[in-house]
Assembly symmetry: C2
Homo-oligomer: 364 residues x 2
């Protein structure tokens, strides 16, 4: 490891971190927050702040719980263990929604898999859920392909199936997605995407209805041992966490959420959406590059996936970008050689996107 | 939160962090390691280094795997899920060994509980394990009470039951404990104790025999969905992790392990043991304070638990220490009011212990 690492990161996550992160970190050490107990008044005050700030930023109902994990993928398992007795339904249109489905199978649950082609979105009218499925699992923004499911589609599916729990992966879309959490029972994300922080913290947003289900399931068949929802909730009400959390990650997330609140979330959403729009428009006018997601309404503002007509062209772009100290993400899985994935996140400055577009135009 | 937080931390964890941590952190940001992908050559090189350094520091056999989690308590569940089909045996002599047992019950396993009084240790000859128990779970250092099980007792229990998997909680004893990992199938710790780092990273050390058991169990009944051992191991062999890890925590742990290797682990073990010895000796000569663990061979060098003859005296000490910007841990659970717990960790300077002893003597 040396100073030759890239300087501009369009990685989809771990992604570019906010330039303020080193200063916030210095403050964390100055305040000795790395050494305070997670049962101390200092930690409880931090916990009170982060919960209040997240609820304000994302308009999360006051009755909801918010919990921390080591990663978002841990939460696939927690949500299924705590919320599903027999059967979960999964809308699958990419690698991450597919992994959510895999987790359910590994837990020996019955599953309904509603599959769409990679790169394709869906409407609520296209979704038909089995009567005996207890939970509908939706990946709102597929980090593997750049498919974005409009926020109102989530609410429409929830309204169509008011008895079923709705679980939404918002790993790479929050806080850009403007979701109505009244229709969501579980939502989860990690901090190394649009929140522009180092990895190591997952966040789980939970409705009281989901808590009730987990209490019922605990009595029926068990809900695992670690980070069970009733245990989480009990500590949460005391502004604590069940196990020792990533206090540094929580501190940093609180600072970043405060920064976003000060700037105004609407301003940031507008910035990201406008950058995405001009990026997709430019791709439309290129010969050799195009957006992998064809339908504009499903094109993600935060994860832009570029497809080229040959693996050689993708390779050449990546090689040139590397020479310019610019890092991008490769395509995911079987699309590794044909795609470039771009994180359009608030921590990356506007100029960087302009430079990237210029390079693509030159190499088109 | 402000600058009025304590300056000296004898907390048992989160504990005092090494004074070098802010500088290592600045280096992490300078190298842009917060933004590199966990599938990048940069991360794989970091992974290669941390595994090699941990194996060197702790004398872990080359064939063993090492994996990362969000916390050590997560690993109680992973070890039981991946290693036990029907029944686990738990030696319980405090709150943390008891929680390990609780996790087994929450996972609907049969359990054998071999209970000792809080504050008491045990010899291998006192341990008799049921024939059908597949795993023996031992807490080598009880953070709740300060009981230390000598390293050779672990090896003796393992030799007595060569067919059973041996799982050892070394959360607050590593790297001071000098364990023979040839007799251990699972060991786990977190970094916010003797490694003097902010919390948010657990480490799981695993034998090939445990991997074989997990592969067998996966086919038989399932081993959960997240961070399963076969999945972990596959990524490990490629110097990667299954999910996005706490890259910052891994980076910092690597720096700290390198620092300890440079200083020499034997020098650090001698320092901690000698500080513990003089601390326990001083307690012996006091009237109102004494060590909660009576038998010297079971007195932990890393977690020193002080009992007073009244809750008022403990309260007075804690109040005075707070006025001196010194933080200690309260007693655990039912001992909250009667104990003070002291972390004797390498990040705390010798002078701080001398000052603490002087205060205790004055208030005795």
């Amino acid at each position: 490891m040396d100073m030759k690492n890239p300087q501009t990161f369009f990685n989809v996550g771990p992604a570019m971190i906010f330039e303020q992160v080193p200063a916030y970190t210095a403050q964390f050490f100055q305040e000795n927050m790395g050494s305070v107990s997670h049962r101390s008044p200092e930690f409880r005050e931090l916990h009170r702040q982060i919960i209040a700030n997240l609820k304000k930023l994302l308009q999360i109902p006051e009755t909801y719980g918010i919990f921390f994990s080591g990663s978002a993928s841990e939460l696939w398992e927690r949500i299924l263990l705590n919320g599903v007795a027999h059967k979960s339904a999964h809308i699958v249109n990419g690698s991450f929604s597919s992994k959510f489905h895999d987790y359910a199978q590994s837990l020996n649950l019955q599953t309904q898999k509603i599959a769409f082609e990679e790169g394709e979105g869906f409407e609520a009218t296209q979704i038909s859920i089995d009567n005996d499925a207890e939970m509908i699992c939706i990946t709102q923004n597929e980090t593997s392909t750049g498919v974005w499911i409009p926020e109102n589609t989530i609410s429409e599916i929830a309204q169509k199936y008011p008895e079923k729990l709705i679980s939404v992966d918002i790993v790479s879309s929050v806080p850009i997605a403007n979701l109505d959490f009244n229709y969501i029972d579980n939502a989860f994300f990690s901090v190394q995407k649009a929140f522009g922080m180092p990895a190591g913290l997952g966040v789980w947003i939970v409705s009281p209805r989901m808590l009730a289900k987990s209490i019922e399931l605990k009595a029926q068949k068990g809900i695992g041992a670690h980070h069970t929802l009733p245990m989480h909730w009990k500590n949460f009400e005391n502004n604590e966490t069940h196990s020792t959390p990533n206090v540094y990650g929580i501190y940093l997330l609180n600072k970043i959420v405060e920064m976003i609140l000060n700037k105004g979330i609407e301003a940031i959403r507008t910035q990201i959406e406008s950058r995405a729009q001009s990026f997709y428009e430019s791709l439309n006018s290129m010969k050799h590059f195009h957006a992998f997601v064809a339908q504009p309404k499903f094109q993600s503002p935060t994860i832009i996936v570029i497809q080229a007509d040959s693996a050689e062209r993708i390779e050449a772009v990546k090689k040139y970008l590397k020479s310019q100290d610019i890092s991008v993400s490769s395509g995911y899985g079987k699309n590794k050689a044909l795609h470039i994935r771009i994180g359009n996140f608030p921590a990356v400055p506007d100029e960087a996107y302009e430079k990237l577009l210029q390079i693509l135009k030159q190499m088109d």
